[in-house]
Symmetry: C2
Subunit: 329 residues, 2 copies
């Protein structure tokens, strides 16, 4: 039996930067999700109320891949009070032939950030208007910044708008997006301004009541919402979901329980419709953006398939450059 | 942030042998399961049919414990054909206060073996007749042997019977149990003989049709069945479950989906009864063995609570002797 390869965050950041290759990797996993043979069980989720913490475990088997990942994602929201990040975690890579542990990716959540931002870019590539002059983001944290940076790789916008309730964070986010994309980034007055002025909007909040209202929609708008990933979260006004010309799920079975589809259905919309999945848009089985004037929404809850895809990608790249430490079983 | 502690199988075997302390550790987790504050989500389970493999992920939060474990248990049943064990896996220990990964227990399934055998001993301690002259096991693999060794620590039987369809394995198991316990161990002619001659029986098979029939039951018998841990598995004749004076689950929510309770209910038995749990027997909230003549059955599907308990125990013991390697985040 071979040794177990251990890679730390620094090595994984070097091996798997957020670039077009990462986006293509995640796109290929959505393509696989639209085909046969994928196994993706429901997310294991555990809440620890005493510590204001939770942990999610995701996995998926993708046909043709020799390995699969099991991802452990803790979120402990009082951590910043003691100087620690809220999100951390790691991935375990196992052989899909023998089940043996092959690699431990001690990424502290980095690979999740990459694969989540990459999924946003896949959605933008297939659903946003061909030309995006202005992109906007509601939220200003790490994922807000990465979503804009990833989106810029597929829709090289010249202007961007950022808004969150935290102005210091907004300033930081604007500076970071400017540095990474070269776009002119401005802090908006409101979430409404972000939506009204942009043709590509990403929402990246932990909101439990909508932060994006139906009244603000306008022709030629694409929205990617990636904040809702638990029962009880809700970023998008249900009326906006109902008003969109096309609403797409990363995975229907997850969005109906954890995503915007849950709150939309609770409000009485889309109750007798099964929306298409992003993978079906990627393969062309379902048509993407209907017209330049259409309003489209893509709901991302985050899939174990993305974790398996990015873990395999990062590990392969790390091995190619000889990174990591070997640990005897 | 502290380093991550990495422990390998050899170190964990040394730190956490199957002894009374391990049994007491697992007993205390069943006690916790009967009280408030435990969080134990449904098991994440993924089947990979192409490779005749599966992986289960279990976890639990136990109040008062500073850490919790997430256990990854793969079972790839064609592995023996290429000289590898079917079962492997590891545990990740995380802080219950911050979610940070604290330790990686690369046990290759060893700690699962210990905590499973220890649960059998907890069941025997609280449910088997006070004096057990002869114990028996159906099955002859690793877990069959450990179940007998653990049972002997709480019910020091003088005779034991082993039966499985594989005679070479039976001989090996008999020799190993003899060596560990000093009991006189014999290979039985049949599963029926094991049950008829024993006052404590453990079933440790992956059976999908019963290997223990109701006709074989006799007064003063305790049965622990630990083989069924998936929808479709079934070791015990549903009529035997119905005939027992006391049927106890490790966790009702699991046994009803994965254990003998599932097949018993499918056969029309125990449909309007919620059985007691082992933790309730341990705390005394529910009475254990009703009389020396009673027939009792304990159904073990394996709980994430046991994993968290044994992981914390093994790690604490390993740290105390300075075992393991530190890995920078």
């Amino acid at each position: 039996m071979n040794d177990i390869l251990i890679l730390n965050e620094t090595e994984l950041r070097r091996a798997a930067p957020l670039n077009l290759e990462a986006i293509d990797t995640v796109e290929s996993c959505f393509r696989a999700l639209a085909g046969p043979g994928v196994v993706m069980p429901p997310i294991l989720s555990m809440e620890m109320k005493e510590a204001n913490g939770e942990v999610d475990v995701k996995t998926a088997y993708l046909p043709g891949m020799d390995s699969f990942a099991i991802k452990i994602s803790p979120g402990f929201f009082d951590n910043p009070k003691i100087g620690l990040p809220s999100l951390s975690g790691m991935m375990v890579v196992l052989s899909a032939r023998t089940g043996l542990v092959e690699a431990l990716l001690l990424d502290n959540g980095y690979l999740t950030n990459v694969r989540t931002a990459a999924a946003g870019a896949v959605a933008a590539r297939h659903l946003a208007p061909t030309v995006v002059e202005t992109a906007g983001v509601i939220g200003a944290g790490v994922q807000a910044r990465l979503q804009m940076i990833a989106a810029h790789l597929v829709r090289p916008f010249r202007h961007a708008l950022v808004w969150s309730p935290d102005d210091a964070l907004n300033q930081e986010a604007a500076a970071e997006i400017t540095a990474a994309t070269g776009a002119l980034v401005r802090v908006a007055e409101s979430a409404e301004e972000v939506v009204r002025q942009s043709h590509l909007v990403v929402t990246t909040t932990p909101a439990r009541t909508p932060v994006l209202m139906a009244d603000w929609l306008h022709p030629g708008l694409h929205i990617t919402c990636m904040g809702s990933d638990q029962h009880g979260k809700n970023e998008i006004d249900p009326k906006a979901i109902a008003a969109a010309d096309l609403y797409v799920c990363d995975r229907v079975s997850q969005c109906v329980a954890l995503g915007e589809l849950r709150s939309a259905r609770a409000a009485g919309f889309l109750t007798d419709v099964t929306p298409p999945e992003l993978g079906q848009i990627v393969t062309g089985a379902v048509a993407g953006r209907p017209s330049s004037e259409a309003i489209t929404i893509c709901d991302l809850t985050g899939t174990g398939a993305q974790d398996t895809a990015i873990a395999n990608f990062a590990r392969r790249r790390a091995v190619a450059v000889g990174a990591g430490a070997a640990f005897a079983r």
